[in-house]
Amino acid sequence: MPGIELSSVRKSFGATEALRSVSFHVAPGEIYGLLGPNGAGKTTAINILCGLIRPDSGTARLSGQDVGAGSADARRSLGVVPQEPALYMEMSARQNLAFFGRLYGLRGTALREAIDRALARVDLAGRADEPIERFSGGMVRRLNIAAGVVHGPRVVLMDEPTVGLDPQTRLSILDLVRGIARDGAAVLYTTHYLDEAERLCDRVGIIDHGTLLAEGTLDELRRAAGAQDIVVFRGVFKAVGDVPALAGVGEADLVSRSESELLFTVHGAEGRITPLLVVAQALGEVREVAIKQPSLENLFIKLTGRELRE
């Protein structure tokens, strides 16, 4: 039974379609990365799984139970780590965890042991009784994760938990996430950092404009990206108008075109730069050229026609 299951879920906010028939599942012990730019629909998917918003159609299940209004059983198996720390800053780390633990139904010795475990896991046992307003940003983020998993959930939803953190803190949080999955939890991890998805996730779903464009293991996705390189020309271009024939370039495609950027996919980019440059110069002024080797990013560009930026 999947820990997390989203089936044909649609959700609109007014005229904006936030999710368009999105389906995926996450098995226990698996880390599933939902990768997409801001506004792609990642947080909407998380909110539906949390029970904060209702899908227009389709079903969302946690540990086999429907997520819906008043579904306490589904929520009992759930741990949520929101993007922005949702903690009580005037309270200590222990008091914060005690409050969330009690609301998850923990009592007495079980609660105390759960708090100690969670504090040890996020390496805050030594500062458990300090008001967290004295904590650094990274410590608060770690405690935010501890508050989401203090009750030992079977499902954990993490909404971009590393946004704005320094590289060292990000690495420590990725280690934490791996540990949570090793304990058997199904982890849904949203991010717009490609490197995080590549380092952390067992499977990745690429989402943009509310549509799940591709999903699979990293190997599967890299294969799907093919052996083609991405050639990026940056400068000032005509965004519309005819494109000169790509004669002599081989199997090249102009996959994206804007006033500042042209993206081509091509086999063996090093040997094709000159004819591509001629094409690009015919469309405007070239100031910078970059070649990207096959990777998840290439697949993202191929699927969405744009680079993944913060």
Binding site: R54, A69, A72, D73, E84, A86, Y88, E90, M91, L103
Partner: protein
């Protein structure tokens, strides 16, 4: 219920850990009352207005002149004035410059002679220019005294003439003279008898924001029992606003959404917040009442009626600001709307200006707004009235609190509703 208590207890612990703002707000009514206490002293705290100090310069030093100070020291004005005889003008000037007296009454030489002769006997009053109201009170009392004195002289003209003749003749008078003088004075006394009731007069005391209460000449009209409740109720509305703002900021930081993902009833979370606000405000109200009792000597002889009123008002204050927070999109909006509402109802309820000073068509509103109803109910109970006497005011307060709590629950619950 367990979750509701858990959430309420959690918020209460947060308040205990970070009470700075609430303590500052609590200090406001205490400080204002303390300033008044310092200005007027223990006499006011005990319920009496401070005595008005009157200097008397008696240049006549006669039997009749010695009766003049009795205008201030006897009858219904007893205790309201402090009379002090002075010997010369140097002393008077020094006392006025030190603002240590409100007025000087000068009894000129020959005062007795003029009085007994039935010719014009004049008293002079000098007001301390540093004061505005109290010298006027002295002048008023002196005018009334002069009017009464003239009447007495008219009624007793016959026997007084006989006394004057005996004095001028340096005669001790016969028994018959004494008998006729005594009969004449007795007859004058009977004719003037109606004025004797002045000595047994009761004084109707009207205080801001309350009905009249009759107190005997020596009975205290509790000054602080009027002023302090108004201050407390006004400040409690702002404390409630501060507490609700904290909960609003929780919501803005995503804490409400996080709580909504937990396996507990969302109603329990909403009512936990309401219960916390209500309990915190009620406790603060009780603390302020205790301060009023210990520091300012306010009598809390009827705790249960006071508790019923206080609980109603605490519920209203909690509901009002939670409802505003439930509607507001930001803490700035909530602060603006909340402050505006508090100022308007405080003005209507008589927090700033005594209700008695309002135009007649506005005055009834004071008892229709929750803070005005609660304030007047508390003042009435502190003056000795029972719960039954203020049932209408208490009902008004609780009706408002029910409405406010209902709106707060509705708007807060709506924040948790799935979209």
């Amino acid at each position: 219920m367990r979750t509701t208590l858990l959430v309420a207890g959690h918020h209460a612990r947060r308040l205990v850990r970070n009470p700075a703002l609430v303590l500052i707000l609590l200090a406001i009514p205490v400080s204002l009352a303390a300033i008044e206490y310092a200005a007027f002293g223990r006499t006011v705290a005990g319920g009496k207005l401070p005595p008005i100090k009157v200097l008397v310069l008696d240049e006549d030093e006669s039997l009749v002149s010695r009766l003049v100070p009795q205008l201030f020291a006897a009858g219904p004005m007893r205790g309201q004035f402090e009379i002090e005889a002075v010997a010369d003008w140097t002393t008077v000037r020094a006392r006025f410059q030190a603002n240590d007296a409100s007025a000087l009454v000068v009894i000129p030489k020959g005062f007795q002679d003029h009085a007994l002769a039935g010719t014009r006997a004049e008293l002079a009053i000098y007001k301390n220019p540093l004061q505005s109201i109290l010298p006027g009170v002295v002048e008023g009392v002196l005018d009334v005294g002069a009017m009464i004195g003239n009447q007495i002289l008219q009624e007793a003209r016959g026997p007084l003439n006989r006394i004057r003749h005996l004095v001028e003749a340096q005669s001790e008078g016969s028994d018959q003279d004494m008998l006729e003088i005594a009969r004449g004075l007795a007859a004058a006394g009977r004719r003037f008898g109606s004025l004797a009731s002045l000595d047994r007069a009761s004084v109707g005391v009207e205080r801001p924001g309350a009905g009249s209460a009759t107190a005997g000449p020596l009975e205290a009209a509790q000054f602080f029992a009027v002023v302090f409740p108004g201050l407390v109720i006004f400040v409690l509305l702002f404390i409630s606003q501060a507490l609700a703002a904290r909960l609003l900021r929780d919501r803005m930081r995503g804490l409400s959404r996080r709580l909504a993902t937990l396996p507990v009833s969302r109603d329990a979370i909403v009512w936990g917040g309401i219960l916390y606000m209500f309990a915190a405000l009620l406790v603060l109200l009780i603390v302020l009442g205790g301060i009023g009792r210990l520091v300012f000597g306010i009598s809390l002889d009827r705790p249960l009626p006071l508790l019923a009123i206080g609980a109603g008002f605490a519920a209203f204050a909690a509901g009002l600001h939670l409802a505003i927070a439930g509607v507001a999109r930001s803490d700035r909006t909530a602060a603006f709307v909340g402050t505006a509402v508090v100022l308007v109802i405080s003005l209507l309820g008589g927090s700033f200006v005594p209700v008695d000073q309002y135009p007649a068509f506005i005055r009834p509103l004071a008892t229709l707004v929750p803070n005005g109803a609660a304030q007047q109910a508390i003042v009435s109970v502190l003056r000795g009235r029972g719960l039954a006497d203020v049932a209408g005011l208490v009902a008004t307060t609780w009706l408002w609190s029910g409405l406010a709590i209902g709106l707060a629950a509705y708007f807060e619950r709506r924040r948790f509703t799935l979209s």
